[in-house]
């Protein structure tokens, strides 16, 4: 119980740190009219390495964290993060999930899926979808590059933070050893 709670708190602290860093990056990029979004990084570690309930709690709370500062319905990101988490959790047994590369690739796929989903849901509401579509494509490209660049560091940070808090997730080998 306390082990799971520690895992949730540690991963949420990491998500908060990443959110603050990306927020500052977006602040600096504002004159260029480009934004970076890295939702996949918030989810991939939890979905690949944590048990279902703990990981889902991390995904939903990270979504609520984003929802609190965004002008969208409170719970919207949490719902989509939850769905993305479940989809990745479903297939993780077929993946070498301890590998950093797999974590980064999973984050890239989640980014892409959420970008497409939000575009499909909201693009029609914009006054000029054509120019917004081009910007979305550029932002997707920049976000994917940024995710690939900092992904290994962030996954290592999450792993290191969990080790520091003595809340490492159980590996299959560890469980049966």
């Amino acid at each position: 119980m306390f082990h799971s709670l520690r895992q949730v708190l540690v991963l949420l602290a990491c998500a908060g740190l990443l959110g603050a860093l990306v927020g500052q990056l977006n602040h600096a990029l504002a004159p260029l009219a480009v934004t970076v979004a890295v939702p996949g990084l918030l989810l991939s570690f939890a979905a690949l390495r944590l048990p279902l309930r703990t990981g889902l709690a991390v995904a939903c709370l990270a979504g609520l964290w984003i929802d609190a500062a965004a002008p969208v319905g409170f719970g919207r990101h949490a719902l989509f993060f939850g769905i993305a988490f479940c989809a990745l959790h479903q297939v993780r047994s077929r993946l070498p999930r301890q590998e950093t590369l797999i974590g980064v690739v999973a984050a890239l796929f989640i980014n892409l899926a959420l970008f497409v989903l939000f575009a499909l849901l909201d693009l029609g509401a914009l006054p000029d979808p054509a120019s917004s579509g081009l910007r979305l494509l550029l932002e997707l490209l920049v976000s994917q590059l940024f995710t690939a660049l900092i992904g290994p560091w962030f996954l290592a940070l999450q792993g290191g933070a969990l080790r520091l808090a003595s809340a490492q997730p159980e590996t299959t080998v560890g469980r049966f050893a």
Partner: protein, 283 residues
């Protein structure tokens, strides 16, 4: 049984969703507020760190540069003194004419300067967090201005921070007029191409108004609705073409590129609270 086990993540998510749906609204609002107030100190701390960084970079300037800057400021102050005197004379004239013609007066505002803590400009919304909130008397709906004209309006007020919705945001509409014309047109933000300044859309423009990229027309606030004071610069109209119904024109407004680099704004806090809510002013 294995099939049920495969669907366990989605089943759990469904249970969480169900629990979320039956949670009282009060709990959700409190949770949102709690999450926001947890994030706010990070933005504010980063903003103070940037200010400190600026301070130390300014300290590297030579004495000669500082003396030159002080001299330029003294000149500016002198010209502003003259403008202030002129402003007082014009205000007295407006009051006299309002009394003479029995016109309702425009709302009075208190200016509250604030530093920008974080800019959040994406395709879906264009907002910024400023370092003043309800503790400084800010109210939702107050207009926000900067050196280039209108920035937007206060969308949310928290204890020590507020969120400003920019005029480039798709959700913001206002009544504007062409400079030198008194017929209102509908302004809506939300055209935010990458690597270029933001643009906005105009609707219900009278057919006898013209503007092109080579001969743009300035767009200012109309003062209608009571939220924004009249005469604040909104942008430049660079394109007008007949609308599909042929009764009006539609167009594009180029917004000031400085809007994306804003570091300090002024919130106009209405002295009469009815103005902020967009209601008609008290008699």
């Amino acid at each position: 049984m294995p099939r049920l086990d495969q669907g366990r993540p989605f089943l759990t998510l469904g249970v969480v969703l169900l629990a979320w749906l039956i949670l009282p609204t009060l709990f959700k609002r409190s949770a949102r507020l709690g999450f926001y107030e947890l994030q706010a100190p990070m933005d504010v701390a980063a903003s103070y760190a940037r200010d400190l960084q600026d301070f130390w970079s300014q300290k590297t300037r030579s004495k000669n540069e500082v003396i030159e800057a002080a001299r330029d400021l003294a000149r500016l102050n002198a010209s502003y003194e003259l403008r202030l005197q002129d402003d007082a004379r014009l205000r007295a004239e407006i009051t006299r004419l309002e009394q003479l013609l029995r016109l309702p007066s425009y709302g009075e505002f208190r200016a509250e300067p604030a530093r920008v803590a974080r800019r959040d400009f994406n395709v879906w919304w264009q907002r910024m967090v400023i370092r003043k909130g309800s503790n400084h008397g800010l109210r939702v709906g107050s207009p926000v201005i900067y050196v280039g004209g209108l920035v937007g309006r206060v969308a949310e007020v928290h204890a020590t921070t507020s969120i400003v919705e920019l005029i480039s945001s798709p959700g913001l509409r206002l009544a504007a007029v062409f400079e030198g014309d008194d017929r209102p047109v509908s302004f809506q933000g939300g055209v935010n191409p990458a690597l270029r300044p933001a643009e906005a859309l105009l609707e219900f423009v009278p057919l006898d108004l013209f503007a092109t990229a080579s001969a743009p027309r300035r767009l200012v606030t109309s003062g209608l609705g009571g939220v924004y004071p009249p005469g604040l610069s909104v942008g430049e109209v660079v394109q007008l073409e007949p609308s599909t119904d042929g009764l009006f024109k539609t167009g594009r407004v180029r917004l000031d590129p400085r809007l994306g680099r804003i570091t300090e704004v002024t919130v106009l806090v209405p002295l009469d609270p009815a103005f902020a809510a967009g209601e008609s002013p008290a008699p």
